[in-house]
């Protein structure tokens, strides 16, 4: 695993000041795309930050700029104490991008091993790490299959394993749960928590906040390339003027009594009933985590 640079050890994982990302698109580059506009953001080490926003709000572009894959046209960005795109910083960053990993003809184990040997790891160490990670993300049984044949959820698990391969200090996860089944979402959440507990900083770009609701220390909402809101999820989203319970063990008679008591105390019952069990809960019970 890459050793942190001595001069950057403990450096602020991410500092972005007035960042703009702009490029030209379309035939002959006539269309100017301003993906990020004057964005400023500082992230503390070990925190899990959600980057939310509708499609096209600049989440992926921000990540790409941090990795040096998109042009920074104004402002600055420092990643792990180095300028954005610096190879030393990229080497300490794990990136889960949208879409599938390349080299679809390689077996899952081969691809992960390759990502180790490309980093200069000895083959035996790269293989051992690949096997351990495939087991961790639940792909050990299909490690010998070409990953181009994987389902979307399996491909995301493999991409996650790839992003975690070198135990990065900074994780950039772009729509990590897209196409994943409930168990995959659980796994993703669990691994993010693990990395954060180990001191890594995680940025999770998503528009499905429910997938990471409890894990987020902070929520940054982007819209049209600008920060619309920034703070703890509670501060940003606020609380509904309603109280919810999830109560087990009541029969219909007891439930009616509770509802009557709520009404007697001036409350207005917005929803009541016995909800259907979630698919995730059902799967966890049947086939385990």
């Amino acid at each position: 695993m890459p050793e942190p640079h001595a001069d950057n050890r403990g450096a602020e994982p991410l500092r972005v000041e007035g960042l703009s990302v702009t490029w030209r698109s379309g035939l002959l580059g006539r269309r100017l795309v301003r993906a990020v506009r004057g964005l400023s953001l500082t992230v503390e080490a070990g925190s899990v930050v959600g980057i939310a926003g509708p499609n096209g709000s600049g989440k992926s572009s921000l990540f790409r700029a941090l990795l040096g894959l998109a042009p920074i046209t104004a402002g600055s960005a420092t990643v792990l104490g180095r300028p954005a795109g610096d190879r030393a910083a990229v080497a300490r960053t794990g990136h889960l991008a949208e879409g599938r990993l390349p080299l679809g003809r390689l077996r899952a184990r081969e691809l992960l091993t390759l990502s180790g040997t490309l980093r200069g790891w000895p083959l035996a160490r790269a293989r051992a790490r690949a096997d351990a990670l495939l087991d961790r993300v639940g792909l050990a049984a299909v490690a010998g299959r070409a990953h181009g044949d994987f389902s979307t959820g399996m491909a995301r698990r493999l991409a996650l394993a790839q992003a975690l391969y070198h135990e990065p200090e900074l994780l950039l996860l772009d729509e990590p749960t897209a196409g994943m089944d409930p168990l995959g979402v659980d796994l993703m959440r669990e691994l993010v928590k693990e990395r954060a507990a180990a001191g890594a900083t995680c940025l999770v770009a998503t528009h499905v906040l429910e997938d990471f609701g409890a894990e987020l220390d902070r929520l940054v909402v982007l819209y049209d390339g600008e920060v619309l809101a920034d703070g703890s999820p509670d501060d940003v989203l606020g609380r509904e003027d309603a109280t919810s319970w999830t109560v087990a063990g009541l029969d219909d008679e007891a439930r009616r009594a509770v509802e009557a008591e709520i009404a007697a105390r001036g409350g207005k019952l917005l929803a009541s009933g016995r909800p259907r069990r979630s698919l995730g809960a059902w799967l966890r019970e049947r086939i385990g985590p």
């Binding site: 990795l67 998109a70 990229v90 080497a91 879409g99 390349p102 003809r105 081969e110 490309l118």
Partner: protein, 355 residues
């Protein structure tokens, strides 16, 4: 750096062990090779040579297959390729695994070509009734005047003037070519009488006469098996005086009486490798700096240009074709290369809204 180059090399080379790749390679290579190097049983040498000249670019089909495999095994060829993003995320300079992949593709190409040649030759040898491989081997024939300290060049000016050449021994019937050089004066068809003075001192062997046309070009003369032991070739001018004629001994062809050795097959194969390497190198270099469309265009234009300007890559295959009895058509191979390269370069990307 070495790790990334080695990883690219190993991964790409591993792709050649893929059964699909082997089948594709065999499907593309063996028919091309068979068409090129197996003459029909009654096919004259000249016709076979012409066919070889036109079909020689088919030998480049394996290069195309190889390049397809290269693209499939290692798609990080273009600047907008998703594989490039992946490599960047690994903090690996893209050129390193690309270099490894490129070297591996060359190694794979060479390995598969030799394997294919061996398989084909084994198959031909095992197939009863197959016409023999056309084995042609240029032998060294030297005129006495070419030897160090030889007297001044002999000219055939009057009837009875004589020129002599030293013919090496061959293994059977063959074909001799003479290249006339007309000197000053009016040209007219000139008849030459040829004979062979045997090494053992026996009766001279009359080989017949040939007419050298007034337009200078190669003249071919069949050599019977009786001439196989070699000796001193005597060329005597029969015609009336005219312009003076100088003769240069051209290639001496030897036809194998049975299935030939793999020499010619392997020679053509090896000769085609530089062209294939140029193809891959051009594709690789173009993809380093250019987008897919521009790279295609550049290779389409530049490859034939470079190949025509630099004869070295072509010299080998042209030589091999000549040895196989054909003439040289230098534009065919570059064009085939260019088309192949244009086809096998990275496919157009499905670009997203974001770069």
């Amino acid at each position: 750096m070495r790790g990334a180059v080695a990883a690219g090399f190993r991964t790409t080379l591993a792709a050649y062990a893929d059964p699909t790749a082997l089948v594709l390679f065999a499907a593309a290579w063996l028919p091309a090779f068979a068409i090129l190097l197996v003459p029909g049983s009654a096919e004259p040498v000249e016709a076979f040579g012409e066919r070889v000249a036109w079909l020689a670019p088919l030998l480049l089909a394996p290069a195309m297959v190889t390049a397809f495999r290269l693209r499939g095994a290692w798609p990080a060829l273009g600047p907008e390729d998703p594989g490039l993003v992946w490599l960047h995320g690994l903090a690996v300079p893209a050129w390193q695994p690309r270099l490894g992949a490129f070297l591996a593709s060359l190694a794979g190409l060479a390995m598969l070509s030799v394997l294919g040649a061996a398989l084909l030759l084994a198959w031909l040898a095992a197939a009863p009734g197959r016409p023999p491989l056309h084995e042609a081997e240029r032998l060294q024939a030297m005129a006495p005047r070419d030897a160090p300290g030889a007297p001044v060049e002999t000219l055939l000016a009057r009837p009875g003037d004589r020129e002599e050449f030293e013919l090496p021994a061959t293994t059977g019937a063959g074909e001799l070519s003479l290249r006339p050089r007309w000197l000053l004066g009016e040209r007219q068809p000139t008849s030459l009488l040829l004979g062979l003075g045997r090494r053992g001192g026996g009766e001279p062997l009359v080989l017949g006469s040939v007419v050298v046309p007034d337009v200078g070009r190669e003249v071919r003369l069949p050599l019977p098996a009786a001439a196989a032991e070699g000796g001193r070739l005597r060329v005597v001018r029969e015609s009336q005086p005219g312009s003076r004629l100088s003769l240069v001994l051209g290639e001496l062809w030897r036809l194998g009486p049975e299935l030939g050795t793999p020499t010619v097959a392997l020679r053509v194969l090896v000769a085609s490798l530089p062209a294939a390497l140029v193809l891959l190198a051009a594709a690789w270099l173009a993809s380093l700096a250019l987008g897919p469309a521009l790279a295609r265009l550049a290779v389409l234009v530049l490859t034939p240009t470079v190949l025509l300007l630099l004869p070295a890559p072509l010299a080998g295959i042209a030589e091999a074709r000549v040895e196989a009895g054909g003439s040289v058509t230098p534009w065919l191979a570059p064009m085939a290369l260019a088309l192949a390269a244009a086809v096998v370069l990275p496919r157009p990307l499905r670009l997203e809204d974001e770069p």
